[in-house]
Symmetry: C2
Subunit: 708 residues, 2 copies
Amino acid sequence: MDLKALFHPRSVALIGASTEQTKLSGRPFRFFREFGYAGNIYPVNPKYQEITGVPCFAKLSDIPGEVDLAVITLPASAVPQALAECGAKGVKAAAIISSGFAEVGGEGVRLQEELKRVASEYGIAVCGPNCSGFVYFPERVTASFSVGLDGGFPETGPAAFVSQSGALSSYILGAARERGLGFRYWITTGNECVLSFTDYLQYLLEDPEVRLVLGYLEDARDGQAFQAAARRALILDKPLIIMKAGRSEAGAKASVSHTGSLAGADEVYQAVFSQNGVLRAESLDELFDLAILAQAPRRPRGKRVQVVSISGAAGILMADVGSELGLEFSDLSPTTKEELRKIMPPFASLTNPMDVTAEAVARPALLSQAAEVILKDPNVDNVVMFFGIVPGAHEKLATAIAQVAQGTDKLVVMNWFPLPRTEIWMSLARAGVPVFPEPARGIRALAKMAQYVATRERALSRQPGQTIKGPDLGSEVEKILALARNQGRNALSEVEAKCLLKAWGLAVPRGGLARNAAEARSLAGGIGGPVAMKASSPDLLHKTEAGVIRLHLNSPEEVERSFEEIVEQAKKWNSETRLDGVLVEEMIGGETREVIVGVRQDLRFGPVVTFGLGGIFVEAIRDFAVWPAPLTLDEAREMIRRIRGYRILTAFRGRPAADLEALAQVLCRVGQLACQWQERIAELEINPLFVLPAGSGVIVGDALVALQ
Amino acid sequence: MDLKALFHPRSVALIGASTEQTKLSGRPFRFFREFGYAGNIYPVNPKYQEITGVPCFAKLSDIPGEVDLAVITLPASAVPQALAECGAKGVKAAAIISSGFAEVGGEGVRLQEELKRVASEYGIAVCGPNCSGFVYFPERVTASFSVGLDGGFPETGPAAFVSQSGALSSYILGAARERGLGFRYWITTGNECVLSFTDYLQYLLEDPEVRLVLGYLEDARDGQAFQAAARRALILDKPLIIMKAGRSEAGAKASVSHTGSLAGADEVYQAVFSQNGVLRAESLDELFDLAILAQAPRRPRGKRVQVVSISGAAGILMADVGSELGLEFSDLSPTTKEELRKIMPPFASLTNPMDVTAEAVARPALLSQAAEVILKDPNVDNVVMFFGIVPGAHEKLATAIAQVAQGTDKLVVMNWFPLPRTEIWMSLARAGVPVFPEPARGIRALAKMAQYVATRERALSRQPGQTIKGPDLGSEVEKILALARNQGRNALSEVEAKCLLKAWGLAVPRGGLARNAAEARSLAGGIGGPVAMKASSPDLLHKTEAGVIRLHLNSPEEVERSFEEIVEQAKKWNSETRLDGVLVEEMIGGETREVIVGVRQDLRFGPVVTFGLGGIFVEAIRDFAVWPAPLTLDEAREMIRRIRGYRILTAFRGRPAADLEALAQVLCRVGQLACQWQERIAELEINPLFVLPAGSGVIVGDALVALQ
């Protein structure tokens, strides 16, 4: 679908345009005229001859010239016909502002289907319906009724905004100028009957003038395309800043009613965001803060921050917030301290955060002088400043800091509370120093941006070869899956699941399936050492509860007796139970940790790998990580580090570290397995996976595979 | 110490006053004159005859009349002498603004000691030194050089502010007016050589005109007094809103260098705050937000919130943030929905959050009409609104909502983004509707305030009798402690610790100390059933590592053999080991949970009870709660619910709930024990404490008592 006609129309028809310029149907026309759109403007409405001096056409087909874009504000029932007329006329793009479609249900759903059909028939790029339209700033394409345009034409800038909300997006547009943010695109997606959030995103990223993209998102309907676009944004270093709503139950419910779509689970979105460096804004304030930082000409160089503050307290607050978010406040080098001693008052302590003290009231240049010295310190990646009220000194300070910032390629961030006059802080912003109105906000934005930079570096350094290749044993996996399908089953037995995982390169316990006591005895003998035995049956999902597990069996007699007991118990539990036999396996013991590794199919993002520690404790604490598959080894390592109880897997309390490398490999492999057989494997859970000490690998304790 | 002279002086001497009105030493005088202080103003400086027409005195003693308050801006070295002259003249209060005292170390420390001595000799209430002074707004007492006064005299209001920061406090003062906040007191505490943060707090709370207190705190030096003051604030319903800095390592270090005092552990502060309903502000924005809500004439009635929004997206964001912070977004009653149907557009869904839709652009009164209906719903405790830009409708809407709010005794909160003109939102604020410039901020403040109300209700309903009285067995505890002291020991043995806890009403396992194998056998026989045995020695702190524990012993032979093994192993571990004998105890098994209960002495707050789940997992996850002792049964229950793994203690996965009541009682008792013997018990840890199923109690597994 070509979106160019949407954003670069040489002419625009306003279908349903009204003379009432305060009405929704009158406003887009007014904005096109008022803000100086250079193409032809054709209002279409049989009621009028002209609107404010511009000739009005009764029908679209009456328009003499070509029309590139139609803005439709007719009642819903009239829209499909109007769109068909657009198609007949050769209109290539339309913004359908009218509501009354899928969001109201019933007849609206049918109307939207019809729209979709017409758009597809004629190949029309449709924005909406049920949206606030869009604006392309450089060419003053104001296909919108937004109140965000009432305060005059907003600042044009390097940001694009794409949103699944109408009203809030207008307020964001209206507030942008005074926050120092300018847009190039502003798009509300509405019901996304043709163009989706991700379609716009893909388009915006390829505009070389767009340097960052902001979004309000309730649901990315095409999850995998969204993921790819987010990854593309990261590679291009165009930060994607998204406010994702609907995390809570109440919010999700309202989100469904709001856009007529089902939202995916928030934790998976969060994983997709983390994986691809999407900056998640938790509030409108943060949306702006992150945008301010993203549009600055420099990125954080790393996590090491030196704070230079006119208030000790503000410095401490920033260190508190920054430390929690992973920034590092390390010591200045001795050379730097020596240099600072020459300019700082004798009683100032050269710590981090550093308080330039009340001396800065008399001598505000202290702040910029200190920053200049500190920026040369190789231990410092970024300088964060805090300034307040110093009567008469604000302009001078802003100029001095702007100069200092221009003499370095490190990032300098200013927190100024309360903000001085707009011209003053804007002059700093123009000089490439992002300014924040509150110290906690500035440091929080910086911390998130430093995280973004680290994620991007990881993404750039990723070698294609680092993704583990599954062993070429797919045919064995295929065979096991085919057998189950042919038998019409929706799950594999434990034995089958283990065979499948073994074929896929995972280690499983030594042992096998015994059909009688003698076989059990012989298997146990072959294993040598204590064994575990459990019933193998497609009907016994909860073996512990059914009492069909025996552990730590040492003698042949115990093994034989256990076989009989298990068979008897399985029948006692349920006389209908089909029994494949009894699994006899080596006991996995010693210094192992039990973890759970799984994959499930997410509605939006396809296969998602989950990982957590095993056991009741963790289940109660809900300590697990999720990650969309496939994942690289690096991402798998990151995933392991993300769980709260990570320390348990490291050398801790005298226990050796667990084999995290082997664990990471399993996460990758399981992800690849689920991707390769996405149509067949609905869910897979290895519980427990025994993780042996470093170097000794991992072993599948039990596994469950559910089929589609 | 009487603080009246500080805040209500009939006359003030400015010692060290300067003609240079931009200098620190010239500014307080200028402010006293400029803002209309009604008492006598006496500048004191041998250099001048007069300052801007006011006669200047060479010495304090030259002043003809009485002086109530001295504001001192002399160099540090001259201050003690000046303060002594104040004493001689009968001055009752002083603000010492000069720096160069304890914060610079060395000679400064000595000078501060001298100040303290002089102040004590004459009974002078001293604010500072090394501070920005203070302001008492109703009488225009401007004993400060703060730049917060440069923009004109700030708004007077019901808030008091007390701060351990200078500069930042000035900026807060400077920013207050435009945020709609007015102060009655503004105090910077400096080095607190005489008056502490808590001293001011106590005083402010008793002023009937003060309705809320804001604070910036690095360290409450008198922790227990602070706690009592916080509790008093809660009872009086004067919310205490505190920004507590120094949580991070970097922040804590800077905090020490900043005020010259050692900060307590943040987790204990957080516990004191939670316990006493202190509202912790994480940022300057939040400090103001909480203050705006606290000064409103109404409090939240409960946690149930109905959102009424002109933007669906803003509603969802508020539901997301609010849900996470414990607010509830439940359904409206059928009656309310019926009423709403009459006024709302047919396509609006009456959910929570509720979107009044774009219809509100044409008919903004929809918002206030909907609110009016909803406020009558008994399922709704509070109404939170969101409004944006609707050209021309802002005044009308503000008026309508103000009217609606005045017709209810429920809290109505407005989030308005972007904020309209100041007069408009201020008019709403004056009508008792707090207004927030960002939806996430408004809902966050509301959630914290709802939590405050719940804490206050709990505090008010607490009956003195609910505190568990320790059994009258203190004499036994005393005996055990005395014995250890007489022997010069700094710890109790496990046997002693268990005797002590038993005396204090806790259950310990049945059993006793065996001195030989025969005694062990006889003890085991008396117990009947499996026993556990472990070496008892003051020298063996880590019994597991030393290998001197045997569990699950069933037969008399096992018991005898184990006795010998343990004795042998103890000697093998360390030939110097003193052995009291071997402890023979019943095995505690079945459906138990292992938890850890401890008490330690906090530098600021005295005995602090800690509680967490047992085992390596939890230690790695650091899942525990702390609470200052003594605690009531209600507080103990709350403490148990606070840990992340709380679910493990409830009925979960087929296991019965643990005996949480018995556990709560132990937390109370242990707290009382540590309070009663605060001078003697340095630390106590019960690890594990076995918690049996509900109704079956708890049993001390092992206990460690360290003595002062």
